[in-house]
């Protein structure tokens, strides 16, 4: 049986806190891994490995980070509409930190704890359907 959304949230929060040496209380769903929690590129590798081990799944390449909308590969029009969708989905995210607009190089800063939770919720639900 797939873990509940609450359980996924709790386990991801704990993993991120451990990987980045933070208190669990400082790790909120809207926390940006880079801007709020200080993650660097090697930390993304570490978090990926810890999540694979914890949930016993295999995650390909960067699929966990690119999100459902895959903005890194979007054309300019799709990029802008994708950003608009993200703004609606992430109302708690401090969008005002991008005063000069958002470029593709900024995408990593948009990865939040919720990005991981959403990915796992989708992935584990699919697995659940497949094995049901």
């Amino acid at each position: 049986m797939s873990p509940s959304p609450e359980e996924i949230q709790a386990r991801v929060t704990k993993t991120v806190a451990e990987a980045l040496e933070k208190d669990v209380a400082d790790v909120r769903p809207s926390s940006s891994l880079v801007d709020d929690l200080g993650a660097e590129s090697i930390d993304f590798l570490d978090i990926l490995f810890r999540i694979e081990s914890d949930f016993d799944i295999k995650i390909q390449g960067d699929e966990i980070w690119k999100g459902e909308l895959d903005l890194a590969n979007a054309d300019p029009a799709a990029f802008e509409s994708g950003l608009a969708t993200l703004r609606e989905r992430m109302p708690d995210f401090p969008w005002d930190r991008f005063q000069e607009g958002i470029q593709k190089k900024d995408l990593r800063r948009l990865i939040t704890v919720q990005t991981i939770v959403d990915f796992l919720t989708r992935t584990l639900a699919k697995e659940g359907e497949r094995t049901a």
Partner: protein
């Protein structure tokens, strides 16, 4: 850079250490003065399967306050944590945080035996291995390593990680290197750093050693190498230890300009590598060279810090070398050692010894010299000559 190499003199202005006798310099000194010995039962793992039953463990040590970036703790093993803590304490001891040192002119040079390759993590990655399959079936090996070994493993275990992490945490942007010549590595690190400063590559260097001998992997491999099972307990007093010491070495004028307190001066350094059965000759050579380079004679040596304390061919070789240098036993100057009190801290031992001894150089005469010997497991030797900061 001011001054030619011959004009650039190197002084010790800061000492930081983590030893089995205490997790900092003052606790280590208090413990030494109280006559304590840190060699005892090993608490971290079961030693019943090994010939060695004792070790010297560092206790009550918390690395976290010494990490500018706490997240980096996950990238460090125990020896690296010792080194970062010792480096941070050496800088504080030297007052280098307040009256700053240009970080682009600050180097880091650490001696270490290397990591234990996180043997437990490796073993877990291949734990369901059919006998030998991970050796012969590379796709199988690859699948195990790629799926089960944390991708940060390399960043913890690369041999140079100890000096890399020290530099990251203390923000040193000058030269950076790691010396890996086993028991001699820490003394060689100090000697090489001496040359960096003399040659103008840096104005200050955090130099020292960090090691961890209290590990099942080290107990096992040292026993295999015959260090614990000599005839009639020949090596019975050999105990593995762990710890680190980092010294802040500075070009003398640089230290003076910032008003630093000076513990002593590194006068010279010499090192050699001869076959193991020529250890006495090698040590005599390095001690003689060190004296010659310091412009001193055997009669100027007022104390010798001995490398080897346990009864063994190493001790015999050191005694022979000292007798050749100074005459029969009665003529050998005052000698002292620390290993019987805190075990052999391997690559950390030389820097710990220098760091402790320079705390009390006031009894040494202005031209007097203290020699620090280091003997390597495989026949390498090094000698550092240290004196009080002499008049210009």
């Amino acid at each position: 850079m001011a001054g030619r190499p011959a004009d650039r003199r190197v002084v010790i202005t800061g000492v930081g250490m983590v030893t089995p006798l205490g997790a900092d310099l003052s606790r280590t000194r208090r413990s030494l003065e109280a006559g304590n010995c840190a060699v005892g039962a090993v608490s971290r793992f079961d030693v019943s399967c090994f010939a060695a039953k004792s070790g010297a463990e560092v206790r009550d040590f918390d690395a976290r306050p010494h990490f500018r970036i706490p997240k980096a703790l996950k990238l460090t093993d125990r020896r690296t944590r010792f080194a970062v803590a010792a480096a941070s304490m050496a800088l504080a001891d030297a007052g280098a945080n307040e009256n700053g040192i240009d970080r682009s002119r600050l180097g880091v040079l650490v001696g270490s035996s290397g990591s234990d390759l996180q043997a437990e993590e490796l073993a877990c990655a291949v734990r369901e291995d059919a006998p030998g399959r991970c050796v012969t079936d590379i796709p199988f090996f690859a699948e195990r390593i790629l799926s089960r070994l944390n991708p940060l493993w390399l960043l913890v275990n690369l041999p140079n990680m100890v000096s890399a992490h020290v530099a990251i945490q203390i923000e040193s942007n000058g030269p950076n290197s790691t010396v890996m010549t086993d028991w001699v590595a820490g003394s060689q690190a100090i000697g090489e750093a001496f040359h960096w400063i003399r040659g103008g590559d840096a104005d200050a260097v955090l130099a020292g050693g960090a090691d961890n001998g209290v590990l099942p992997f080290v107990f096992g491999t040292y026993e295999q190498a015959g260090l614990f099972d000599g005839d009639a307990g020949v090596y019975s007093s050999f105990a593995l230890g762990e710890g680190a010491a980092m010294l802040l070495l500075e070009e003398r004028e640089h230290a003076r300009r910032r008003g630093a307190r000076v513990y002593g001066e590194i006068l010279s350094y010499a090192t050699a590598s001869l076959p193991l059965d020529c250890l006495a000759e090698a040590l005599e050579r390095t001690a003689s060279l060190a004296l010659e380079r310091a412009g001193r004679a055997a009669g100027d040596v007022e104390a010798v810090c001995c490398a080897s304390v346990f009864a063994s061919p190493y001790r015999q070789a050191e005694r022979e070398a000292l007798e050749k240098l100074f005459g029969p036993e009665g003529a050998i100057p005052r000698h002292f050692e620390f290993k019987s009190r805190m075990g052999h801290t391997l690559a950390a031992s030389g820097p710990i010894e220098v760091g402790l001894a320079v705390q009390s150089l006031e009894g040494i005469s202005p031209r007097g010299v203290v020699l620090f010997n280091a003997l390597g497991y495989m026949g390498q030797t090094a000698t550092l000559a240290v004196g009080r900061e002499k008049a210009a």
